[in-house]
Amino acid sequence: MAKNTRPLSGASQRKYFRDLFRSDAGVAPDAAERLSDICATEIAQIRVRLPLAVRKPAKPVVAAAVQTAKVAAVVADAPATAAGGFDPHGFSLIVTFRKGGKDALIAKLDEVGDVERLREIAKAQHVSLDAGLTDRADILVAMVEGTERRIAHRQAAAS
């Protein structure tokens, strides 16, 4: 069960509620906003089903690791229009940082559900991330720092 679901909390949970209510034609826009606010206030954490396209079948540990790497490689080059699946290029870390600064990037990353997806984004967008990091907050900070380093590399290259 756990492999086909992911936990949501905070900003990503609020976004989930908003998208869910907005997607229902029978719920008026202002009602959707109100409901999502209420749910976000009253519920600390939820667990949602992953779309079929991104569910991982149960496999032996070693084979699963290889498969994950292959999937990540394929996803890294997959078209942005891939319907339903997770796209690690769905937004640019650099563009988000440069347009809105550190806070905007953290907020955007916070909308991403689980840590594995954050890792996928970091890998696809060539941001170094220590494999030993497990805490979500540490990973977010590391991704912001990695993004800053990528920007610095580009600026240095043009000097």
Partner: protein
């Protein structure tokens, strides 16, 4: 007076020559303009696309190449520029079935050597390397401008790297088109060539110049429509003016540059990519008009 359009990037393999040729065809056929292409790249790809291998060899034997032109007329006292041109090149016809007005100053494998000779020649007059380099570039610039009376559009297909000829072309151009492929090193190359075009030392200096006041525009080439490419495009667009037109990675475009002896319509030549080529031409023509009006 001619409008000068340079197609440049210090990085190779980004599509400078193919885009130069697309625009040559576009301005001549759809725009009805008299177009001259100066092949400033010793790879000579634009020349080979426009006149085929045999035509290019014939031009070399007749001493009608960019290297001959630069060497023979460097002192600006001898030789008529028109004598070095090859006329009615290209393998397309216009809507009336006639050959559009396309002339070519063919490329030369000896262009780098020729520029070296010109540098040595100029160094006899001055010792400071910066002054010598500046004079060589200035002379080449004047030599490029000598064609402006006889054409509506002069397209300068620049070599990768930083030759005197490329620098002269960048100085001469009313508009510089910077093709790039959506990858990491191309992104860095765009940053560098932009500094050169706008004569700025750093990215911070360049950022002070509004995007709509820049003399260049970038065009994405060989796009496959992936999210990664879109991110790179967006990252470049933060710092540089971009054309809305994006050229896809397309076999129709690749096939179009195989020279044929029998001229055909531009639609036949570019096949499924005709719409992309037309959009590119129309957007560049519009930008050029805006630049000249500014």
């Amino acid at each position: 007076m001619a409008e000068f359009l340079a197609v440049a990037n210090r990085k190779g393999g980004v599509g400078k020559s193919t885009i130069s040729v697309m625009l040559t065809h576009g301005f001549a056929v759809w725009g009805g303009k008299r177009v001259l292409l100066l092949d400033l790249d010793s790879q000579c790809n634009a020349s080979l696309i426009l006149q085929g291998g045999e035509g290019w060899v014939a031009a070399r034997k007749a001493h009608k190449t960019i290297a001959d032109y630069f060497l023979d007329t460097f002192d600006e006292s001898a030789g008529a520029p028109r004598d070095y041109l090859v006329h009615n090149v290209g393998d397309v016809r216009d809507a009336q079935g006639k050959r559009p007005v396309i002339s070519l100053l063919p490329g030369s494998l000896m262009l780098e050597d020729a520029q070296g000779e010109l540098y040595i020649k100029e160094a006899r007059q001055a010792k400071d390397p910066d002054i010598v380099g500046s004079r060589v570039r200035g002379r080449l610039e004047r030599m490029i401008r000598r064609f402006e009376g006889n054409y509506d559009v002069v397209i300068l297909d620049c070599a990768p790297g930083l030759s005197f000829a490329a620098l002269a072309a960048l100085k001469t151009a009313d508009l510089v088109l910077v093709p790039f492929r959506p990858d990491y090193v191309s992104q860095l190359a765009v940053d560098r060539v932009a500094l050169l075009i706008e004569s700025r030392r750093t990215g911070a200096d360049l950022a002070e110049l509004p995007l709509d006041a820049r003399r260049y525009a970038c065009v994405a080439n060989a796009m496959r429509g992936t999210g990664r490419e879109q991110n790179i495009y967006d990252e470049i667009a933060l710092d540089h003016p971009m054309l809305e037109t994006r050229l896809p990675q397309s076999s129709a475009i690749a096939d179009a540059f195989d020279f044929r002896d029998d001229p055909r319509s531009i639609e036949d030549k570019y096949g499924d990519a005709t719409g992309d080529v037309r959009r590119l031409y129309e957007e560049v023509a519009s930008r050029l008009t805006l630049r000249l009006a500014a």
